[in-house]
Amino acid sequence: MIFIGLGYGCKGGAATAALASDAAKRVYVAPGEKDEVYAFLSGGFSGQMSVYGIPSARLFKIIPVFSVFPENGYGYDEETKNMLRTTHGYVPWDDSHHIEASMTDGKQDGRWLFLNANNTPRLARIDLKSFETKEIIEIPNSAGNHASPFATENTEYLMAATRFSVPIPQASVPIENFSKGDFKGTVSMVKVDPKSGRLSIELQILVPGFDYDLSHCGKGKSHDWCFFTSYNSEQAYKMIEVGASKNDKDYILAFNWVRAKQCLDQGKASNFGGEYYRNYLPENQPVISEKLSGVKMLQPKDCPGVMYYMPTPKSPHGTDVDPTGEYIVGGGKLATVIPVHSFSKLMDVKDKPEHRSGMIMDIPVLKYESTLAGEVKKPCLGPLHTEFDGKGYAYTSCFVSSEVVKWELGTWEVVQHLPAYYSVGHLSIVGGSSKDPYGKYLIALNKITKDRYLPVGMELPQSAQLYDISGGKAELLSDFPTVGEPHYSQMIPAKLLMDKAAKIYPLEENKHPYAIKNEKDARVVREGNTVRVYMTQIRSHFKPDTIEVRSGDTVFFHVTNLEQDFDIPHGFAVGGAPEMPNLLIMPGQTRTFKWKAPKPGIYPFYCTDFCSALHQEMQQYIRVLP
């Protein structure tokens, strides 16, 4: 009944949105012209990230992060395979949801992007010079790294919280013990080195065993705080879709990370187990993969003032902080309102007993009305995520009613309904999660695409919708198919990145232990049954070209691309190699192709990237002797 009633309320608004009449002109980027914005879309279950130009919606690149990528050998070659190393072994896939852009003073600074791996808890750093994944850190004592990686205002820390609470430390306990408190969650503070971007786990905080869903950190006056939504405060463990939807309110956890750091410095955190890998790819060297052991764990009871629960109606999903840092918007995915908490009120009441309704694991639970700034009434069905345009308006995605609603901060009035096609999850405004939204474009990231494009079998591409939000009324400009599930996105103005993008790896800086910088050094070196081929590539030949090895030898082709010209990678592939796909070797880079010499015969190898007029001649033979 409620859904029907709300549906009625939404329809009037939804009918008002239409395609802008000159939309084609506004998304058209003439040949040779460049787009205004980079859109980085996570790939959901593809484990990767894709780069689009906005407004044209042209796909520029897929950046492999948590999934192997046969197109360029990521995750296969001797240099990058250890990027995917975890305590569970080599995990060549993941489910990647949230992209966070590095910030300085709450503003995008164009240095790095961060991405979470939900399935096998991990967090990656992507460098925005090379547009390549440079570091992956595993999060110990966590299961389902969903509320991650959300950055503090100066990228001091990235937050990562457990989606699936589990026994911590891991133990085989009866699953029904979930509701008896045997299952816990953790919030991890991952420190980002301000110069190098290197990641390290500084502290974990043990929290009640709910499902922690999403997070956002404060800005300005709320700089010290991060906010996490939780669901299943019922701690249901069977038929969760029903069991976890009972309570009228779940919680947004307000977490004072500055206070947590204080408690850490005062020695209030204790040594705790947990093994994890940290895999780092230095510029043009093989991955340095370290197994680390143990973290500092803080219990909320030992650090008063570190956490508060703010009740938020019904299974809140998104928690988003407006550019001023005052409003914390909950996305109650089953709620009929969009609740907005006030940071000032939170500060006012957090330590006043009369504003508390109880404690959970020594974390005070505040009263809903005590921190509430307002509610957007009957906005839509299934409000999930909110971003801001910096002009006093908020945009909330609504999954169930497939639309984006525009509403005003302060008056809590809905001003526009924008249909989305269909089932929108996250949405993204250029700079919309920062202190300084650029505010011109909004994309809706949809889960379902039925009837939008030519059918291609049962599985259709997922899609995104582009809106122009620069005027008084937002206007639909285009929709476009995406790679994988476009889960979340960060959009960054092109001017912040385009001139800093790397064009080559300077050969003189190549520190790869098997690099050679001159054709004269090309050689084949035998060490027992291992053969190392020090090989160079330059338009349009390999050195050495013909090679002889013995059947059963392990052959390492250490291939250095000697080019120093933008956009001239070379490829490397050997016929019938069962374990290695193609390698793409960037100008000035060295990568290694490992090959077990098979039965005697002649095996061709060749360049796979059309590099020059004589590309087809860039081929040679390996003879395998008995």
């Binding site: 080559i504 338009r539 010209d565 933008f566 007029a613």
Partner: protein
């Protein structure tokens, strides 16, 4: 005529000659000539600079990339070491600068004339030498080159632009070269000025 040649040059022109000497020093630090190559696959352009003592790419890796392009047609690799003239060119420039300072100390018109002759002769020789190198690079191609276009030579222009296959090559003096031409102009101006002053005083 003899009277003009032996004439002491004016204070103003004497200072000008000192300026010429000082200006010429900058030629050590400026490229003399610039050859640019435009091709569809090089939208950012490719170029080469000729200095008094070396040849470089217009940007860090241009020379390597020009040589990579040239290897298809069998052109010899362009490197500073293959042009021995670059070894003594700095001394020739030093000689001109020295001449300017001598003229400043011994301000006679005949030294100006000598300077003009020096620059003209060196200029002609230099341009001829440059042309000869261009000719050799463009014509002495490796017969085993991957791409052989019958009857095709790849000699870049001495001055101006020329199309070769898909590449437009342009060759123009750069700041150093412009200064050398300007020096010649200043010397000619001084000579003209001295002659005029002599005619007026008569």
């Amino acid at each position: 005529m003899q009277e003009l040649l032996l004439k002491k040059i004016s204070k103003m022109n004497r200072l000008l000659i000192l300026g010429v000497g000082l200006l010429l020093i900058s030629v050590y630090f400026l490229p003399i000539w610039h050859i640019s190559l435009a091709a569809p696959q090089y939208p950012e352009g490719l170029g080469m600079k000729i200095w008094i003592d070396k040849i470089t790419g217009s940007s860090t890796y241009d020379l390597q990339n020009i040589n990579l392009l040239n290897h298809y047609i069998g052109m010899h690799e362009i490197v500073s070491e293959s042009v021995p003239e670059l070894l003594f060119m700095p001394y020739v420039l030093g000689f001109l600068i020295f001449g300017a300072f001598v003229t400043f100390l011994l301000p006679r018109v005949y030294l100006i004339v000598l300077g003009i002759l020096n620059i003209v002769i060196l200029g002609i020789l230099g341009m001829y030498d440059f042309w000869r190198w261009e000719y050799n690079y463009g014509h002495n191609l490796n017969p085993d080159a991957p791409i052989v276009v019958p009857g095709m030579a790849y000699q870049p222009p001495l001055l101006g632009c020329k199309e070769m296959l898909n590449i437009t090559a342009c060759s123009f003096p750069s700041w150093g070269g412009i200064i050398l031409f300007a020096t010649l102009g200043i010397l000619v101006f001084i000579l003209w000025n001295e002659k005029r002053r002599m005619d007026v005083s008569k």
